[in-house]
Symmetry: C2
Subunit: 175 residues, 2 copies
């Protein structure tokens, strides 16, 4: 990717973006091979700079208030193929080659649940890896889920995604 | 789409989502036919309910603090094929059949600008309609752009997108 260099030019790109009041911008990651939308995460300027410098996605975790290199724990990195921005300059679209799966729950895409008949939420994909193995099964019994959405979404997911859901604390996981 | 009904069931889906502190959730719209990512906009519960009830996307404009039906002005509506949610339940992915173009600047996708060599921002798509004709050329001379990102992103775009950029006030446009 010719975007990856350490010249001052990437700064020009960063300055062309509209960052929100927290200095962040949402980045959609799309599978460069088949067009599947894999995830959405947030970047600050440093995450964007690291992404441009390394050619692999980096993000900023709003819940953990820290930077993270996607795949640092799992090895499931995303090799950036291209970056585009929307008409308002306030959303990024990153096409990337995904190694393994994007989702910490073991799926290729984070969008593995779909709205079905009658408002039901169905799992619409098969897992591509065992998240307990990748992220460590010892964490499965940890009851703390401080950063992972609580409430009905979790409960519904827990009911539906039997055997594939990890009750991992978000603070130890990638977003 | 079997999701579209006026039963109370969609409320169950809404309650399964993680809304941000403003009661909003980002919704990625993807072309159901070719997988192209078309746009990202925000929904509140009413916008989601309207989307489910009509089968066409509705959003909430943060800048104008109002609801909008995508395509109401342009006719470029989005017919919803499916809705999925990510692992955190805080992002929606909507696959839709796009009529015309999603972008108010005349492009099929809002992501019509890409990061090129040396940090340059290039237009990477051809317009599919004349935004001045669709939204009204009389607005082209209106200098007010209160809601459209100002600053360098705009300036760079203005330099590059010759002839295709409309200086329309965002307050009169879809987001």
């Amino acid at each position: 990717m010719t975007l990856v260099n350490d010249s001052p030019e990437p700064l020009r790109f960063a300055s062309a973006l509209t960052w929100n009041e927290e200095g962040l911008i949402p980045a959609i990651v799309q599978d460069a091979e088949n067009g599947e939308v894999l995830m959405l995460a947030w970047m600050d300027e440093r995450a964007l700079r690291d992404t441009l410098a390394t050619g692999q996605t980096h993000f900023y975790s709003r819940s953990r208030r820290t930077h993270w290199h996607k795949g640092e724990t799992s090895g499931h990195v995303q090799h950036v193929e291209s970056i585009s921005l929307d008409c308002d300059g306030d959303v990024l679209l990153i096409k990337a080659r995904q190694i393994g799966g994007a989702c910490h729950e073991g799926y290729r895409s984070c969008f593995f649940r779909g709205l079905g008949d009658g408002g039901r939420i169905d799992v619409i994909a098969d897992p591509v890896f065992d998240s307990a193995l990748v992220y460590g099964s010892s964490q499965r019994t940890d009851p703390a889920t401080p950063d992972h959405g609580s409430g009905s979404a979790e409960e519904i997911t827990r009911t539906i995604v039997r055997g594939s859901r990890t009750d991992l604390p978000r603070s130890r996981l990638e977003e």
